[in-house]
């Protein structure tokens, strides 16, 4: 596939400019648009974590909100009952969500795509029903949990949206950095191999089930940590924020984005930002949104920014080939 590429050197200034724009944006936006950007940022964080599962490993997960919910509830319960500072709970939320993912995914990871889809939908519904039914007297039923403390960084209490903007988009930046390293790692390469053809991957000596499970658990625990940030921002959480529908929107953001990190962030912008931009249409705004989703998919079936094909340093191969050839003659 032909693809125009920026020269490697031009990429760094481009990223720097983007970061500059992101950093200065809140200075020109009003309160409302900052709040929208914060919610898009949370969406982007979740979509990036889903991208590891759906985009990289090719596991059809339409129940991502379940792991997000586990993280948010673990944070809320531990914070309101034991007064542990919210940001300290990030690892706990991530671990809890990851553990849940591990337990759930182990028996089902071998299922074929569409069957996995309905199973993950089932999981998100089971989690929501459990939360509503106040499981263990911990989740507060439909009321949810309120009075979650604001996070604190270096003694600064994060309260205002503009502070959350930097916190959450900072987390997005960090995520992009870590996940692009993952993508280049051995596991990342194994995952893209599995996505293309899992039989062939198995044949190459990749432990397919283990790699898939790893991606699933990693994505889920990342979503759990996003849940912590969500709980800290809202200060009230209730089962209504973690439904099948929320999972569907995340799914749409990843597919719409196309699977590259930049694409997924853009996808999150479209899925979580467009309904806000369409506010002037009042009752018709979701109608327009649905139409936009269809039109965008039809115009760009492969997503807005699909990941470029991997580039390998093939120089050494030809060198080796030549060497081998020399030996034979």
């Amino acid at each position: 596939m032909k693809r125009v590429r920026f020269p490697e050197g031009a990429k760094i200034p481009a990223v720097a400019v983007l970061i500059m724009i992101a950093a200065l944006l809140p200075q020109v936006l009003n309160q409302y648009w900052i709040a929208v950007c914060v919610s898009v940022g949370l969406g982007a964080l979740l979509s990036l974590s889903l991208n590891v599962i759906l985009g990289q490993a090719g596991i059809f997960n339409m129940g991502h909100a379940a792991f997000y919910a586990v993280g948010a509830y673990v944070t809320a319960v531990l914070n309101t009952r034991l007064q542990i500072p919210v940001l300290w709970l990030l690892p706990a939320a991530g671990a809890a969500a990851g553990l849940c993912a591990l337990l759930v995914a182990r028996p089902i990871i071998h299922l074929r795509g569409d069957y996995l889809l309905i199973v993950t939908i089932g999981i998100v519904e089971i989690v929501r029903i459990a939360l509503i039914n106040d499981v263990g007297g911990l989740t507060g039923g439909a009321n949810g949990i309120f009075g979650i403390a604001r996070p604190e960084i270096f003694g600064v209490r994060i309260r205002r949206d503009i502070q959350f903007y930097y916190l959450i988009w900072g987390a997005v930046g960090l995520t992009v950095l870590l996940f692009s390293r993952l993508n280049r790692s051995r596991v990342g390469r194994a995952l893209s191999c599995i996505k293309e053809d899992d039989i062939a991957a198995e044949g190459c000596g990749i432990d397919v089930a283990r790699c898939k499970l790893l991606a699933f658990v990693l994505g889920a625990s990342w979503a759990g940590m996003a849940g912590t940030l969500f709980a800290a921002r809202m200060t009230i959480i209730s089962p209504g924020s973690f439904t099948f529908w929320d999972s569907v929107l995340l799914f749409a953001a990843v597919i719409l984005g196309g699977g590259s990190q930049a694409g997924v962030i853009l996808g999150a912008f479209l899925v979580f930002g467009l309904p806000e931009i369409f506010r002037d249409f009042a009752s018709a705004r979701m109608l327009i949104f649905g139409l936009a989703l269809m039109v965008m998919m039809v115009i760009r079936p492969q997503g807005i920014l699909p990941p470029g094909s991997r580039r390998y340093d093939t120089g050494f191969l030809s060198r080796r080939e030549r060497a081998a050839g020399d030996g034979r003659t």
């Binding site: 009321n143 809202m234 924020s241 309904p275 506010r279 492969q302």
Partner: protein, 387 residues
Amino acid sequence: MFQSTTGAGRRLILKKILMSVFVAAALCMLANPAVAGTVRIGLMCPLTGGWASEGQDMRRIISLLADEANKTGGVKGSRIELVVEDDGGDPRTAALAAQKLAAAGVVAVIGTYGSAVTEASQNILDEAGILQIATGSTSVRLTEKGLPYFFRTCPRDDEQGLAAARVIQGLGHKNIAVLHDNSSYSRGLADETRALLDKAKLNIVFFDALTPMERDYSAILTRLRASSPDMVFFTGYYPEAGLLLRQKREMGWNVPMLGCDADNNPDLVKIAGTAAAAGFMFISPPVPADLSTDRGKAFLDAYRAAYKEMPQSVWAVLAGDAFNVLVEALRHAGADSAAAAAYLKTGIGGYAGMTGTFSFDAKGDRVGDLYRLYEVNPEGVFRAISE
């Protein structure tokens, strides 16, 4: 990956998409500041989502009242401008709607319907120093937080629990089945009532939740029947209440059923069918058709003239009254949230609204018992039978 469009072509399409998104965003971000000589009032209501009909009624009623208020001089010579935002019946959308209203420079916000939805907007509006008057959010804890600018025109769930327990005891039933729908409101009312009935030594033979938005409740009804109650108290919304009544009749089971204020909607009779709905009782603030005040009657006439039908829900009428008391406060205290809030708490006493007279306590709750007991008569009309 799947299509062999050339890179340049793809970039062009991408550019076009991005450009149009940015242009749209930029257009929307040019928030037009309030023109001098106008007072902006925000309305936050569910225009989309499962409660869309409530929100659309709220918008109709308040735009009607706003036109009327502008004809009679607006607020101290300033025109009232209504800014309507959709909360989708969803807490997160509501948080953004509240931000948008705050950014639009409204002096006060009316709304909204669901308690959890209102709750998501409370802190945002409070931090922005904007007066808020909720209209259908009955959850107790909303006014227990000590927010100085928060009011509501609807009663609280604990009042309704008291009214429900009083009615059930008054009817003399001994074995009561309580059915809720696991929503914040419904569960709260069910718990409240169960505690009061326990105290009164009545038998709770059944306590469980149905799943709202389904169509077939025959399994639950069969199980309810097996617990042989003297009366079923259902604390959910009218669509489910209507279906329960209908399917109960189809089963040939004639147990009396009591509902709550969320059943106060004539669609209940439409859904259940007149024959099945007859005899159903519910406790509620007065239905729109029962507005007995002069203000209320005049409003009903105006509404019918404008929209060719009757308003459906009492909650939307309570939104109309929120607008009325707000305009009254603004007219006395000027377009200032703090002054208007102070006026609502101290000065408004005895103001005649459409649903009765108004005064607010220090928490921002409306004072006075609004609840009455209603029965569906054989013609399918809601008729007040007590209190």
